[in-house]
């Protein structure tokens, strides 16, 4: 009897303890602030896929979509911080200053800002993906598949992130085909199907038979499908929007990071840091390869993917020259993160100037 009492007492204690831990873990609420609609099939869509992974891990989530980067962002952030959210992911660069401002007022709430560089308070972390690694793979495919040796590239804004992508893409394409030229059209938008389609058309008219994009809508791959040229999906697997044109897509895979960080809040192990993950950590994912690609190219791409993941291959390995022929990275060296973060010059082989 005595034993039984003790045993039941102990077991109920254990039960109580597990329940409390579980309750604490489940109590963490995460919020996501999106720049676009969750149905954009690009940037915001992928963040929302990440949010759903957090839900699947047993946490409550909230999101607000279409939040302009104007004075409104700050109000939305404050409201989320005020309504019991423990960690808030702000998923666009323009939320940088509001994120830091609101973080100061809510030291107990964790803030995670995507693609920014300001961490002014201990409760602000930043994260981004090494998309340029994915573009190394796209460049390899483009350089092999092109017949006209002209590759089109629809770019959004002349910021290091985008320039880096153009360079990484061009370097990889040159490696397999030294005669290629990359033509750029700046759309000056992240998401505007009309403008993006026009930019793609302009490139196709100039003889481009492979189109890459650093904007978010599916308009470009659809335009490529119509014109009978190749293209690559951006942010999410866009194969179903243009089955013939899309050779592969570079997917942004935020889920593992989001789950990690929300769990860290639940365990009390969250810390401020700057995360920059690539293919190796699974933040950048290459979708299935299209059967139009020859099998030796497919094998080459798979190997390149593995080598990028293991670090055996770096997207920016010297010798790299800029457009004027000045050496940017010496032979045998690789570009460090500082150089990558501030990259504002084209490499040789890219046509035109960076808009100033």
């Amino acid at each position: 009897m005595h034993k039984f009492l003790i045993r039941s007492f102990v077991s109920s204690l254990v039960l109580l303890f597990t329940l409390t831990v579980a309750a604490v873990a489940k109590d963490v609420k995460a919020a996501f602030v999106y720049i676009g609609p969750t149905g954009d099939h690009g940037w915001t869509y992928q963040h929302d896929v990440g949010r759903k992974a957090v839900e699947a891990a047993g946490f409550k989530t909230t999101y607000v979509e279409g939040v302009p980067e104007s004075a409104d962002a700050e109000r939305v952030l404050r409201q989320l911080a005020n309504s019991g959210h423990d960690i808030i992911f702000t998923t666009s660069f323009g939320y940088m200053n509001p994120t830091n401002k609101v973080a100061k007022e809510f030291p107990n709430v964790k803030f995670e800002h995507a693609t920014g560089y300001k961490r002014e308070h201990p409760n602000v972390a930043t994260y981004a993906a090494r998309f340029y690694e994915g573009r190394t793979i796209l460049g390899t495919i483009a350089g092999t598949m092109t017949k006209s040796n002209v590759i089109g590239y629809v770019a959004s804004f002349p910021i290091p992130e985008v320039i880096r992508g153009i360079n990484s893409f061009t370097l990889a394409a040159q490696k397999v085909n030294p005669n290629i030229k990359t033509k750029i059209v700046w759309a000056f938008t992240w998401y505007d199907p009309g403008k993006e389609a026009e930019a793609a058309k302009a490139l196709i008219d100039q003889g481009a038979d492979v189109i890459a994009q650093h904007t978010d809508s599916t308009a470009i791959v659809q335009m490529a499908e119509k014109a009978g040229v190749y293209a690559f999906g951006q942010a999410s697997d866009m194969d179903k929007f243009a089955p013939k044109a899309v050779l592969t897509s570079v997917e942004n895979n935020w889920g593992p990071y989001y789950v990690d960080r929300v769990k860290a809040v639940a365990n009390g192990t969250w810390n401020q840091k700057d995360t920059w993950h690539g293919i190796g950590d699974g933040m950048v994912v290459i979708s299935g390869l299209d059967s139009q690609m020859p099998s030796d190219l497919q094998a080459k791409v798979k190997k390149l993917q593995a080598d990028l993941a293991s670090g055996k291959v770096h997207s920016f390995t010297g010798p790299i020259y800029d457009q004027k022929g000045n050496l940017m990275v010496a032979e045998g060296k690789t570009a460090d993160d500082g150089m990558l973060a501030g990259m504002m010059t084209y490499v040789k082989g890219v046509e035109g100037d960076i808009p100033k």
Binding site: S70, A71, P160, F188, P355
Partner: protein, 354 residues
């Protein structure tokens, strides 16, 4: 039997009653939409229209949001009253923000009481310069001001893009499309500690008072009214039409420019690509909902401002898509235009006569 009869005179009472009717119909239609989407209509409406302004902070955010809407709509009412269709307030706001932001950036590392007045003035002048383009083209080249002013909106946004990406971008900002932060002397003072409501609200209130005085107490106001009813009459009366067209556009541009100043020197504190979430266009709804009357515009700007706040709250607490806020703004305008029918027609109950 009910018969529709034309009124001899548009009813004055109904003129001010239809906006209220439009809001009421919007609420009912909104409730139905929520119901169809699978939400409890009353709860949704509560989160949309009551919860966001239930505390001091929420109310201050309402005023913050209504300030630019009110200011722009007051300016627009000068144009609309006199038959000038200035659709480009968004562009005038943007250009005003560009000019005043440029001045603020000149003083980015300086403090001094003289900075803010110059920055504000620069914004008003910027808006006026930009509004003068459709005005001059209309008066001297007979162009359509609707098209010109609308197209100039896109031009202004491209100019802003160019500046924040290129020459004005923050040298320490890794080439991201934004300028430096303005110095504190170039920021509008906050009215209360911890709230974002700033001194820009006084600009809006001043505009309300001045416009009321101009509309109802001055010769200019009378001229505008006559031109609004009939341009021919105005011509017969010998009014100098061209001068008036340019004047109302300048006033309208100045107001929009000041709204831009309020945004960048108030809550934002720098220039970047998204200075305004289309306040210049939403203010058109505000102007008409307020019946182009200064007091009406105050109420209308508050009503429209709450659709923005409500949309956020409804998404956070009920997961209602945020874009329903825009649906509400559209419905208000739709029902307003529809119920204007009552201005000119009335329903008459007629007994059956055999």
């Amino acid at each position: 039997m009910i018969k529709i009869v034309k009124r001899d005179q548009p009813s004055k009472a109904i003129f001010f009653f239809t906006p209220v009717l439009a809001i009421f119909l919007t609420l009912i239609a909104g409730g139905i939409i929520f119901y169809i989407l699978g939400f409890k209509p009353f709860e949704a409406l509560k989160f949309f229209f009551i919860v966001p302004i239930a505390d001091k902070y929420g109310f201050s955010e309402l005023l913050l949001k209504a300030t630019p809407l009110c200011l722009i709509a007051i300016g627009l009412s000068f144009c609309f009253k006199s038959n000038n269709w200035n659709i480009g307030a968004e562009g005038q706001l943007t250009f005003g923000a560009i000019v005043s932001g440029g001045v603020a950036l000149l003083f980015y590392d300086q403090e001094g009481f003289f900075i803010l007045p110059i920055v504000i003035l620069a914004g008003a002048i910027g808006g006026m310069i930009y509004a003068s383009i459709p005005a001059i083209l209309k008066t001297y080249f007979n162009t359509n001001e609707i098209l010109v002013s609308l197209m100039l909106v896109y031009v202004s946004k491209l100019i802003l893009d160019y500046l924040v990406v290129g020459p004005w971008s923050n040298p320490e900002g890794f080439n991201f499309p934004e300028t430096r932060q303005f110095s504190d002397s170039a920021r509008l003072p906050l009215l209360f500690e911890g709230l974002r409501i700033h001194a820009g609200i006084f600009l809006a209130l001043a505009a309300v008072v001045i416009s009321w005085f101009v509309f109802y107490k001055t010769y200019l106001g009378f001229q505008m009214k006559v031109s609004g009813f009939s341009l021919k009459t105005a011509k017969y009366a010998g009014y100098k039409g061209k001068k008036m067209i340019i004047l109302v556009f300048l006033i309208s541009g100045a107001c929009a420019g000041l709204a831009g100043v309020g945004e960048i020197t108030g809550p934002i504190g720098q220039l970047h690509r998204e200075v305004s979430p289309d306040y210049g266009f939403t203010a058109i709804i505000v102007a008409f909902l307020g019946r182009l009357h200064p007091v009406g515009i105050i109420f209308a700007s508050l009503v429209v401002a709450i659709t923005y706040l409500g949309a956020e709250t409804a998404q956070i607490f009920m997961q209602i898509p945020k874009y329903t806020g825009q649906v509400f703004q559209g419905m208000i305008l739709f029902f307003l235009l529809a119920s204007d029918y009552l201005l000119f027609f009335k329903f008459k109950l007629i007994g059956s006569k055999k």
